[in-house]
Subunit: 343 residues, 2 copies
Amino acid sequence: MPKITLKKIAAILGISPATVSKALKDYPDISNDTKIKVKALAESLNYKPNSFAQSLRNQESKIIGLIIPKIVHHFFSNIINGVIDAASNKGYLVITLQSHESYEQEKDQINSLIEKNVDGILISLSDHTVNYKHINAIIEKGVPVVLYDRTSKLVNCSKVIINDRKAGYEATKYLIETGCRKIAHIRGPLKPQTTIDRFMGYKNALKEHDLPYDKNLVFETEHLSFEDGFEVAEEIAKHRHDIDGVFSTTDLLATGVMVKLQQKGIKVPDDISIMGFSNWFLTKITTPTLSTIDQPGYEMGRKTFDLLYDELCQIKNGESVSHEVVEIATRVVPRNSTKFIES
Amino acid sequence: MPKITLKKIAAILGISPATVSKALKDYPDISNDTKIKVKALAESLNYKPNSFAQSLRNQESKIIGLIIPKIVHHFFSNIINGVIDAASNKGYLVITLQSHESYEQEKDQINSLIEKNVDGILISLSDHTVNYKHINAIIEKGVPVVLYDRTSKLVNCSKVIINDRKAGYEATKYLIETGCRKIAHIRGPLKPQTTIDRFMGYKNALKEHDLPYDKNLVFETEHLSFEDGFEVAEEIAKHRHDIDGVFSTTDLLATGVMVKLQQKGIKVPDDISIMGFSNWFLTKITTPTLSTIDQPGYEMGRKTFDLLYDELCQIKNGESVSHEVVEIATRVVPRNSTKFIES
DNA sequence: CTGAAAGCGCTAACAC
DNA sequence: GTGTTAGCGCTTTCAG
């Protein structure tokens, strides 16, 4: 089955390839008659333009790159989902790559994508990325970039973020409103800005509600694992019976704390309320279900693509490109690991 | 910054583009001298070949397509992970698309990928795909296809699967070996072959251990949700106190059952043992942790790409292509929702 | 309204 | 060893 090309259609119809091309694209300077003829034949032959040739001419691939720190992760897989859905809508396909939280791999992958001439790249910075030359370099080359979730002020491009500080504030405030007065904060060791911001939110909430900030209530774990939550819970069960609320920077850590506290005979939420962060799937199946902050990955993914698309359009129309920083709203998801609001 | 091309390098060096091309590719008929000169300049100019032009000439894109029923899913995100890793190793990039379990979307997406001239496509059939014309059609066109996880005998191509029947057998056998004698089976309503096979395995195991098959021990739920597990557990708690083991076709369902049983005061595993299927992440954080069958998504993803790659090589070398069906080993993952083997 | 011609950047057969 | 040429398939002036 030989590939069917513009030239062949032209040959069959006894006209020129140029005319066929234009007819298919509804150029105004082609007679309706030939348009109809051409389209009919193209349809019946099931003609598909060769995308390489098109790309070569038009300098656009209709493919974008997506770099994810870690695919097997509830939040990030929602991001992928959102990006792919939004991209499909506009006729773009998505090449996904995983940095595995490595700076080196992030650089390599950006390179691979550039070499494939993707029309733009969406990136969430790896935890080990400390300088941004590789990203600024491609932006200068004219490749549109949008950063999502893990971003940096040192990169000048559009961004999609959540307000971690506000979210941390809301989480803590919710605990306070449900009656907690001695609220612990649990966080991982690495210091991406998100972690710091959630912590700041925690502090602000205490302050605004006239609760003292006590640094002994802040627990820093080695990783962000379920098991790390155990250790904190053991510590609380042994020495810190005054604690009546816990705000953890991740759902997984929160779940570890919750499970172990209950094993130690501490009741959740009666003795201690627990608030996670992200609204991962697992929060719905714990006992009790875990109250958390919804970090809407799907929506973030969609928005991230939309910003890239806007930029692509601006470039195509010769307009000056404007960068936007979009903040996606988070919200408290009350479940059963916290008490109900007293009204 | 003007794009740097073969022609420019040639111009600077005062030689022909063809020579440059060959030098860069280490053709034997180019003098070492010029090779060195060309390579040095290309390096210093940071020359990157234009992939569209290459693809247009060579008729290959070095991109493959991956169709996934549902991205936000622990097993499938592991598949993506494996495919992308294996592909990167061989210099291929991966465009991921999601069928959302829809036959129509599956067809559309295969089309999009074909139009982008991907070198091959990896597909897991959507639950609502009942005929395979769309897949057989592209195979006939010469596009290599590999099916993974959800496959069909009616498609003639390489496949990566697990032995669901054997896995169901092993799961049930494990329950028997740990002392269960009255084992319930819980499954969803849809009848993809995998569900049926796991059920067959269950029956076989009973038979081989001289336990009677009792169809009243088979529970069919409406969906595969956590909450559906509740209903089964309620039923068991109310009417079926003779049941001492449960084999569920998915981890999520199993978790729902386990949670509700415990709420009803039934002890797991003391009163009833529970065995899930897939080894999702959630199995590690339940109380007790859930025994299950490991369905190794990452490995399956890698192998799926490898089979495609083999086929691509065969085609390139003009060899006849051979199709392979690879069975990836599953294994029982004993955790705390089942008793320990009496030894 | 239509077509000839040029060219996107690269490669391979063939000639020198 | 190196260069010439032709062409992958498409698009877009520009001339008719």
